[in-house]
Every structure is written in C-alpha cells, then in structure tokens.
Amino acid sequence: MTTISDFKGTVKPDWCPGCGNFAQLTAISGALAELGIEPKDTTVVSGIGCSSNLPEYIRAYGFHGIHGRLLPVATAIKWVNPKLTVIGYGGDGDGFNEGTQHFFHAARRNTDITYIVSDNQIFGLTTGQASPTSEMGMKTKTTPDGNLETPLDPMTFALTAGATFVARAFSGDVKQLQTLIKKGIQHKGFSFVDVFSPCVTFNKTNTYDFFRKRVYKLDETNHDPKDFYKAYEKAREWGDKIPTGVLYEVEASRYEERDEVLKTPLIDHPVAKITPEILNEFV
C-alpha cells in the first residue's frame, strides 16, 4: 500500500498561490495512493507550460519533455513497459494547440494511458495569451481587442477521436477530481480528464467563482456514460450549466493488444537473433 505522502516530491511547486494546478497535484497523488500504485511504477510525462512543471513536484519517474509532445512519449513508454502506470499531464495550449494532432491519434489508438489536461483556458507560462479554449471575446496579450476564435471543445474532440474514457473535472472540487483521475487510471484504454483549472493570474474570466456557479455533477443525473450521443450532447452544454463527471466510458480493444510483438512487455524481450534463415533471404 502507498500513501499520498509517498508521492510528495522534494521540490516546492512554483505555481502562483491559488493556481488550479495544486489541486491536480494533490488529486493525482491521492488517486495513485488510493490505487496502491507505487511511485517507482508511475511515470508522469508532461509538455511545457505552468502545468507541465508537475513532474518536478511529484515523487515518481518524471519526463518533462517539450511543448505539445507528451502523448507520443507517454504512449511509447506504455508500449515498452506496460507494467507502468503512465500519466500524461499538460496544459490546454500544449494539448489543444501544439499537440492537437498527437491527441487525436493517441486517443484513436486507445493505448492504456491517462491524459489529464490542466485547462485554464489561457497560456499561463508565457504570461497570458489566448489558448484554443479561451472564450470568444476574451482580452489577452495576443488578443487585445478580444479573442476571435470559437473555443475548441476538448470533450467532443476526445469523443470523436475515439477516446474510451472522457471526463471533465474542476480544480475547485478536489474530491471529485481525485475520483475521476482514479477512474481514468483504472480504465483500460485511453482515458482523458479535462480539468477546469483557474489561472488566478491571467484568466480573469474563468475563475473559481465562474465555475462554482455553473458546474453540476453528471453522476447526480441520469446520464448514461455508455451513450455516445448523450455524451456528445453533454459535452456541448456550456453556459449557465456545465456538467462535470464521466461523460463517456466504454471498453474497447487497445493498440497494444493488437500488435503481436507487444503481446509480452517489450522491455523483457531478449535481443533478437539474426538466424541463417534470415540471412538466407539475401542470397
């Protein structure tokens, strides 16, 4: 058994006081501990952004890579060593701008990793530019007259891409957040948790208050997470009421189950022998 303190790192987070990322650090650590997963068997892979600094603060194996590229890294790690719990963690700019392509194709493969996005609807680390989830009209450093793009919706994106576990959480509710992350990790396949994570410094629109007023829990409704179109509709619900919880969850075959070579953990394979039969192909 592990406890949350097993996951406590030695570096103090450098996030702004009140940043939504703190709740996620707690929830991830808590979920892992609840599941009895050991730090040594956990790998947290991130991109670049405020949020992506997280692997520095958690006691586990951490891979703090480059902007937008965490999913290919995380996917490959899982393929090589399926015994690891692999968590991808990054920002909305990281995942829905620079990494959009990887997100789509990673979800499509349904590899058994958990992808958590700290969705603060802004570029935090680069000091406040519009992100793909920024609301239309929002004033930022790059949109001084208001953002002109319709925001991308991570939920419908994930659903269309083929993610088999799609959930939405809010940093203002650590308990639910931790439960959702835990379910994501338990889910066999590509699980995605988008977290409303207020950026107290640069996003003056989507604050804790903004969400507190609007969020409601899907599991307190009669939502059926097996129903794709219901999930899709719920995902598009945005305004006075915003649903959180598991929008969608199904079982489906994972890429790593389909590939012959991956049938046993790649890390355990011995070096291949080049046999005379192979060489014979070349005469």
Partner: protein
C-alpha cells in the same frame, strides 16, 4: 565488355516491372558468385515515364554502377532510343556499346549500328504462350540475357521460383517463358564470346536500407517509429516486413514529430529504439533531437538524404543534408553524426550507432543517402555477433542516486522507470545533478555552467573512441581526394583509373563526420592537392572540415540528382591535378 565484367541495363516505364526484373538479374549474378552492384534510375511517379535499372557484375569487386553498357534490355521504344543514343547521357550514364534486346514489335527507331548490335526477340509472343500477364515478357528477356552470357539456366529458374513463391503455376509459367527466351536468344544470336567467371559461392545481395535494418537488429533494436519518406522507406519497409521474425516493434505514426518523440520515450523506458526519415521529415524532428541531447536520452535517427531543397527530387540522390543535421536543434549540446560509405558498412555502423547512443546518452544521427539506401551490393560475409553495450545503467536502489551526476567523463547513470528507489525527473529545462530545474524559482548561472560542461564532456570522451579515418591508397599519394558516404565506390574507381595512368592519388574517406578524427590533419600533410568530392552544391563536408581543422581544397560537386560515374570523375580529378 571490359575485363571479366558486364553491365546490363533494363529500361522501361514505371509500372513495367523494371525494378523487379533488374533485381532478378542482379541475383543471377550474385548467386553465380559474382560481385554485383546495381543502380535504380526512377521517378516520383507510379506508372509511366522512363526508368531504368543497371546491374554491374564481375569476378572482382565492383564499386559502383560503372561506366559503360554491354547489354540493354528495353521494354519500350523510348528506352531503346534513349540508351543507344550517345548524345543522351542522363546524369552521366553511358550509352550502349553492345547488344540490345527488345520486343520484335518495336520498329522505326533511330539506329546506331556502329556501337549496337540489335537483337529483337519475340518477347511478348513467347510470354503470351504461357500467361496473359504482360509482365511475362520481362521474364523472357531475362532468359535471353542469361542465354547471351551463358549463365546456368537453373540458377535463373531458382530465383524465379523464389520470387513467385515456390513451384506454383505462375512460377512455372515464368520458368518456361524464361527458358524459351534463353533458347531463342542462343539459337538466333549465339552466346557472347567473352565469358564471365562464375562460381558456386553465392553472395549476399542487399540494399543499404536492408543492411541498416539488419544492422539495427544486430545492435539490439527493439522498437522503430517512423513515417514513410523516400528514400528512408526501404529501411522502414525492411523492419515492418521483419517485425515478427526479428522481434522488432514497428509503428508508423501520424507524423515525424510523433515518431521521434516515441523513439525517445521508448529509449527512456529502457529499450533500444530509433526513428528514420529523409531531410524534410528530419527538419520536423530537429526540435526533439535537442531534447534527446538535453535530457540525455539515447536516440538514433536514420536520415536518408535525397536531392533537395524542399521536396526537391524525391527519387534522386544527394548529400545535401549535412549542414541540417549538424545544426539540428537550438543551442549547444553533444551529438554524433555517422555516415556509412557502402552497404556492408551500413550494416556494421548501425549496430555501432546504437551502442554509441546508449554509452554516451546522446543523439546519434546516421546519415545515409538515396544511392546507398536503395542500391544493391553483394557482400561476402555478414558477422551477426555483436557486443551490446548499454552504458551506465543504475542498480536498483543505488544510494544517493543522481541522474545527472557530474562525473569526470560527463556520463551519469541512467535509471529506468520501474526501478525501485531511483525515482527522479528528467527535464528539457536546464537542471542540476538530481534533475531539478535550475531556472524556475531562482536561476543559478553557476550550476547552469556546470551542467553545460557536464554534457559537453561526453563529447571529449567519445572523441577518444573514434577509429582512425579510413584511407585508400594514401601511402605514396601525392594528391588526396576527400569523400564521404556513398560516393566511395565511384571515387575509389576514379582513383584506380588515375593510378592506372601512373598518377599518385589517394583517398581520405570520412565516416565519422562529427565530431571528426583529427588524424586527417596528418593525412593531408604535404599533399600537393586536396580535392573534395561531394554530391551537393556547396561542398558541405568541405565547409565542415574547414571549420574543424582549417583544411580546405578544390571541390568537385555533382548536384543533378545523380551519383558520380568513375570515368568522368577521374577526368575531373585529373584536370585539377594537372592544372
């Protein structure tokens, strides 16, 4: 026919089966114990146009596709005119001085009787006797060539059977058609006077891409991630086709960026993994090359150059990516660039590349080119034994573990996820010995300096292991040519020609491009001429060597998409020496 060597060219349109006929022809030679080298001239088009396949074979080592043309098999009229006309020389290829084999239905072409013996054969007619498949005429033509050169028919028959999967109907139709072509030719035109020195010692015949793939497996490769791009695809296809038999996981990804990041992820997780692409795809990968350098995750990238810039000439050869590979990614960090010269070396060097990447924990860029990746060469022997060296891997629970410990050689112990007691973070931000970032709360210029020096030390360490620079006939050479990569064969043959004329020329052959062995300072010392031969416009290796050692010289370049031909090259070298 020169000495005991022969050059056969098969010409036709894309889709005519030129390439597969060419490969069968090459196997006729290699299985008859001859040294063989091929060249595939083709376009970025699936059907139509004009392509050709040249095979050169000899009882002595053949170093490239060669000057001269003894036997032309042409599958269309355009080919007949193109390859017999001495005024047309595509990129330096010779026109025919020998026999031309073609379907007897072809008529009304311009003839060059002084150099060409026209040998029409009812290729289609014979083919149609056995099958409706129009490609059977190619087999008839192959039979005819074998007849002409007195090759044992059974060797050809076996190759055909291997090609068409055993003794089935299709295979037998082909064998019969070939036989009839063989006999028709011998009965109608007789056999060549000069005989080739066949032997029973069958040789390996493989392309550079195959050899590199096989070398990678020998080097412990467990996972390959890639995105198709000519001419890197032969490597990808080899591995994909052998995924199960050679136990390599092969994944084609959504793009090159994903491929390289996956390769880095897989190496990080503890298996030997790599990626491969050509110049345009490599451009996309460069950012992650820097990540490998900074995070010290081993990585090998196979970069097969084609003629650029940009999309350029996708099916043509060039050595134009050296500066791109050298400059790959921002900032200063250690990287290694290797370039094999021939098919055999492509094999051994790839295994080495995987060791270097793990021993020094850095990106190794394996730079090859279209000519090398796609042409076939015979190899006498392939040593499959290899000592894998994974470098410093931490022991479970190692005390006071620091992933980036400042050691005297700059190399620290890697720990793999899953190992107990060694949890740490690897970071693309600058970091200290433990892996903690030095730029978040308080930057530490002093630690930053140490971290840079730690990484760069590895290069000093690596330099000690670079083998002596290979040379050719350098002992008594008064002038020296410097080459790299696939031009080796043409350059050596050019030097052979010059030596034949009594000129004392030698070669320095650079395989370890960066960092480079400084022994070349000794090697060029006192030479009257230093001549760089490169398959690019600006002389990229010359630039590099100038910047490293202040050595420069004359420059012979070829940037028309074709590789060098030895005869022409020898004249260019001679002109410089006699100037």
């Amino acid at each position: 026919m020169n000495k005991s060597e022969i050059i056969v060219r098969i010409a036709g349109a894309a889709g005519d089966g030129v390439q597969s006929a060419g490969l069968i022809m090459a196997k006729v030679f290699s299985r008859n114990g001859l040294h063989t080298s091929t060249y595939n001239y083709y376009q970025s088009i699936i059907r139509g146009g004009q392509s050709w396949y040249q095979i050169r074979a000899s009882s002595e080592k053949v170093k490239n596709q060669g000057d001269g043309l003894d036997v032309l098999v042409t599958l269309n009229k355009d080919g007949l005119e193109r390859h017999t006309n001495p005024e047309i020389n595509e990129g330096g290829a010779s026109s025919l001085n020998g026999i031309a084999i073609y379907d007897k239905s072809l008529t009304g072409f311009k003839e060059f009787k002084d150099r060409v013996k026209y040998c029409p054969v009812p290729l289609s007619e014979i083919g149609q006797k056995y099958s409706k498949n129009p490609l059977l005429k190619n087999t008839v033509a192959l039979g005819a060539v074998c007849g002409y050169i007195s090759a044992d028919f059974e060797v050809l028959a076996d190759i055909i059977r291997d090609q068409f999967g055993g003794k089935g109907e299709i295979a037998e139709q082909n064998v019969k058609a070939a036989k009839e072509g063989y006999e028709y030719f011998v009965n109608t035109y007789g056999k060549a006077d000069k005989k080739l020195q066949y032997s029973k010692k069958r040789k390996y015949l493989l392309a550079g891409g195959d050899a590199a793939g096989l070398g990678a497996v020998r080097g412990g490769l467990k996972a390959f991630f890639g995105y198709p791009m000519t001419p890197a695809s032969s490597f990808l296809h080899f591995l994909a086709q052998h995924s199960k038999s050679l136990d390599v996981f092969v994944k084609v990804t959504e793009d090159e960026i994903s491929a390289i990041n996956m390769a880095i992820g897989a190496n990080y997780a503890g298996v030997r993994a790599m990626t491969g692409t050509s110049g345009g795809g490599f451009a996309l990968m460069t950012e992650a090359v820097g990540m490998s350098g900074m995070m010290e995750v081993p990585l090998v990238v196979y970069e097969a150059q084609r003629a650029g810039p940009s999309t350029g000439l996708p099916t043509k050869t060039e050595q134009g990516d050296l500066l791109q590979v050298l400059g790959a990614s921002q900032g200063d960090f250690p990287k290694v660039i290797l370039a094999p010269r021939n098919v055999e070396e492509a094999y051994y060097m790839m295994s080495e590349a995987l060791n270097i990447a793990e021993i020094y924990q850095l990106p190794v860029l394996y730079l090859t080119d279209l000519y090398l990746a796609e042409h076939y060469e015979t190899v006498d022997n392939l040593d499959t034994s290899f000592q894998i060296n994974t470098g410093k891997i931490a022991k479970d629970g190692m005390e006071n573990y620091r992933r980036y410990e400042f050691t005297s050689d700059g190399i620290s112990f890697r720990a793999l996820p899953g190992q107990p007691g060694l949890m740490h973070n690897e970071d693309s931000d600058e970091h200290d010995e433990k892996g903690d970032v030095v730029s978040d709360a308080v930057t530490d210029p002093y630690l930053r300096k140490l971290a840079m020096e730690k990484r760069m030390k590895k290069i000093d360490e690596y330099i000690k292991s670079i083998p002596p620079t290979p040379t050719y006939m350098i002992k008594d050479a008064e002038s020296v040519v410097i080459q790299w990569g696939s031009t080796q064969g043409a350059v050596e043959e050019a030097v052979d020609i010059l030596r034949g004329k009594g000129m004392k020329v030698g070669i320095i052959e650079i395989t370890h491009l960066y960092p480079m062995n400084s022994d070349i300072l000794q090697l060029v010392k006192g030479k009257k001429h230093v001549i760089f031969v490169e398959n690019n416009y600006t002389g990229q290796l010359r630039r590099l060597i100038m910047s490293e050692f202040g050595i420069t010289g004359d420059l012979i370049v070829k940037y028309d998409g074709e590789s060098f031909y030895p005869g022409k090259l020898s004249e260019e070298i001679e002109a410089i020496i006699r100037r």
